[in-house]
């Protein structure tokens, strides 16, 4: 259906080509998964396939869609394109209008639009929210709406550029399931660029692995996984847990790409035993030492207004110092609110009661915390919020890093920032000093945000969904950083949906449910004891 021949592309002003010598063929109804490390060119490749969105630059080679070469001036509504940001992609303020938007653009008459939107609403179960304000939808719903309003235009090919990077893992999963259903029922062609491969890897008809603007491997998922695992690339960390866990290069067998496959294997139990033996040694080593309590919450009640139910409900929690505590829980369980209460950034006039004790200092739940102005006072808490881009106020990455800590940077002398970045494993940022923070990839933005936080030398680090938009490599770097900071005596509180990451770096894990802490244990035990709400590794190892 789509054919790309010997295509190279260089962004205008860029020194190196972003894509070089790409050739691929996509058959109708095929589900192609594009993967590769951040900056490998998968987004650029997707944009090449959608003429309306082709960026400025020099292109060689050609793209053929349905036997017709397409230039940048073409308009192809049959090719749908869905981007990362759910918020920004919604154009209008009502669901029905969002659905109608594409058709209006195509000049379809009102009667047809009425019928189509009714159809789509019925099919995607949007009838209830048909009249709703689009701002009232959640991120996952917004992405679904975007896909639905792309589908309504009768598209044959759906190009998705990291559509779940801004969603939590559960919403992402749901989105993929839904996409799968769509493919099954309509047979549309899907090209998906994604770095979170855990669930989707095994579902793809074909996986294309890209690196540095070139296609490094393509083929069936298992085949690509095999090649990658054999090659020992850093990117293997992105592969599904089952692939990595049970892979044995000597067996000559293709790695599993889904849990289903692994469970179906005849020698499943032996594999599990072998995998367990491989990891126990590592886990035993990480028994944290008791270093007192950093944050202590007692009987905290909190609500955003008088009438709605409390977000936090008689919550009491002690967080040990010098360790990493992960707080996990479903959507709306109050995780982010809990962090805000600890950080003291809840807006005034909120309804709350109880005490928060931080490093021995007690304060009330409500009311904003004033900045500590005492000279040389070490900042107690730094908080990295979910949407890290809210931290960026400067024009370039370098300015962003030094803003607010100019004295410290000046005192550190030449090369202080570079050294600091290297020490913390953020060396990648040094290449982007001259760029605008918004031009960084999701993972790099998180790095930048963390750098800003760490430069303020906090005693307690609060992280809210730090792995959002990060690829596997970045996640591992972050985990390493947390381990290092922990060793320096920093207390880390982590709120995440990403249980694998939580298990990777947390010493303790607490489950928040409807504003209450249900259990708090050593992280390894916590995830081992949980049956449903647990890591992919534990699911794989559960016999």
């Amino acid at each position: 259906m789509i054919q790309v021949e010997n295509m190279s592309f260089t962004y205008s002003g860029a020194a190196r080509p972003s894509l070089s010598d790409i050739s691929l063929k996509i058959a109708p109804g095929e589900f192609v998964l594009l993967c590769g490390p951040t900056g490998c060119g998968k987004s650029t490749l997707l944009r090449m396939l959608k003429p309306e969105l082709t960026p400025a630059g020099t292109r060689t080679g050609r793209v053929v869609y349905k036997d017709r070469e397409i230039g940048t001036e073409d308009r192809l509504p049959e090719i749908g394109f869905v981007m990362q940001m759910p918020e920004q992609q919604v154009v209008t303020d009502r669901v029905w209008h969002e659905l109608a938007f594409g058709l209006e653009n195509l000049g379809v008459t009102s009667d047809v639009i009425r019928r189509r939107s009714a159809e789509i609403a019925a099919y995607f179960d949007l009838e209830k929210s048909f009249e709703k304000d689009t701002n009232a939808l959640s991120g996952g719903e917004k992405q679904q709406l975007v896909v639905a309003s792309t589908m309504i235009m009768g598209c044959k090919v759906l190009l998705l550029d990291e559509p779940t990077s801004q969603l939590d893992p559960i919403a992402a999963n749901r989105f993929f399931l839904w996409l799968e259903q769509l493919r099954r029922e309509f047979g549309i062609t899907i090209v998906l660029a994604e770095h979170h491969l855990e669930e989707i890897f095994g579902e793809a008809d074909r996986v294309i692995y890209m690196d540095n603007g070139r296609i490094k491997a393509q083929g069936k998922p298992a085949q690509v996984a095999h090649d990658l695992l054999l090659g020992g690339d850093a990117f293997t960390a992105a592969l599904p847990t089952v692939s990595r866990l049970f892979f044995d290069s000597k067996s000559g067998r293709d790695p599993f790409v889904s849990l289903r496959e692994a469970k179906a294997a005849p020698d499943h139990e032996t594999l599990v035993a072998a995998a367990k033996a491989k990891i126990t040694g590592r886990e035993q080593a990480s028994a944290p030492a008791d270093a007192g309590t950093a944050v202590s919450l007692s009987n905290v009640n909190f609500g955003y207004d008088e009438y709605s139910p409390a977000v936090l409900n008689k919550l009491s929690l002690d967080i040990p110092a010098g360790a990493c505590t992960a707080i996990v829980g479903g959507n709306g369980s109050g995780k982010s609110t809990l962090l805000k209460v600890i950080a003291g950034v809840v807006p005034d006039k909120k309804y709350g009661a109880g005490k928060v004790k931080i490093l021995g200092e007690t304060r009330a739940v409500t009311g904003k915390k004033k900045k500590d102005k005492t000279a040389g006072a070490r900042q107690k808490i730094s908080f990295l919020m979910q949407d890290v881009s809210t931290l960026f106020t400067e024009e370039t990455v370098y300015e962003e890093i030094v803003s607010g800590v100019k004295e410290k940077v000046a005192a550190g002398g030449e090369g202080f920032v570079e050294n600091f970045l290297r020490e913390n494993g953020f060396a990648a940022l040094t290449d982007h000093f001259k760029q605008h923070p918004y031009d960084l990839s999701g993972g790099e933005q998180q790095m930048l945000g963390l750098t800003k936080l760490l430069l303020r030398d906090p005693q307690i680090l609060l992280l809210d969904e730090p792995t959002k938009g990060m690829d596997a490599v970045a996640k591992e770097q972050l985990a390493a950083l947390i381990a290092k900071k922990k060793a320096d005596g920093m207390t880390v509180i982590l709120v995440t949906h990403d249980l694998d990451f939580a298990e990777l770096c947390a010493d303790y894990a607490a489950m928040l449910f409807r504003g209450e802490i249900l259990s708090k244990e050593r992280a390894d035990r916590f995830f081992a004891d949980n049956v449903f709400y647990t890591t992919h590794k534990n699911r794989a190892l559960n016999v």
């Binding site: 981007m83 209008t92 303020d93 209008h97 653009n105 000049g107 004033k370 890290v388 918004y438 609060l462």
Partner: protein
Amino acid sequence: MRVYLHSRTWFLYFIMVIVILMTFWHPILLLISLESGLLWWRILGRRLTAGHIFAALAIIGLLTVANPLISSNGATILFYLNGRAITTEALAYGFLFASVLVCTLLWCVILSDVMTTDRWLNVCGRRFWRTGLVLTMVFRFFPLFTKQWQKIREGQEALEGGSPVGLKETFRMTKRELLCMLTWSLEHGFVTADAMLARGYGAARRTFFNRENYGATSIGIALAIAAAFAAVITAAASGGLEAQIYPYVRIHMDGGFDILGFAAFFLLCHLPMISYKVIREERRMRS
């Protein structure tokens, strides 16, 4: 979608009422508009609190007192304040101005309640689709903008470990937030533009998804509104509805044209309420 009253009828209704209200500063017209405005207020399920009344009285009182301080126009001098004549007419003008303001505000609240974004789109229609599109995007963007600002503020506070202390720092913080918002808006704009392009914006001549039909009621009520408006204008043109403030306050109340004007305006204000279905529709929309 089947609607009882077309958006354009609604729009016509509000425009006519507000235009009359603001053109003829006539106490009795004001009273009529106040009465019907409060009726709408109830129908739309709003509560009239003491706060509203106090605020309205405060506005009226303040403007009544303030006007003579800036204008000495008028024939009847009450007294001199620092050599400036305080006249009855200036007081009356201030009072009337404030009353018109309060009534207009009341009607604007009702207008914003009734004229939902969908209705605005329908008012713009196919001919003014660009305006309609901009409107709908603005309606979407504003809540996003405020939400984002809140997030940025929280983010900055979280980064710095508390809210800024002192005026200077608060100012600098606000400046940074504004810059941040600017960048974010631009970024948002780029992505939205891409999303629009991706969904075929500019691919063909755009149509307008019209969800409403002109029913007999819509047309009938629209005609009645136009007729009532014409009657009010006729009454005014024939010398009725005259409330003179300068050089001295005088409300001419002589002859049938005044009665015609009042009756027409009363009818105009209450027209959509005539049908219970309209009221039910509004209530259902808000429930």
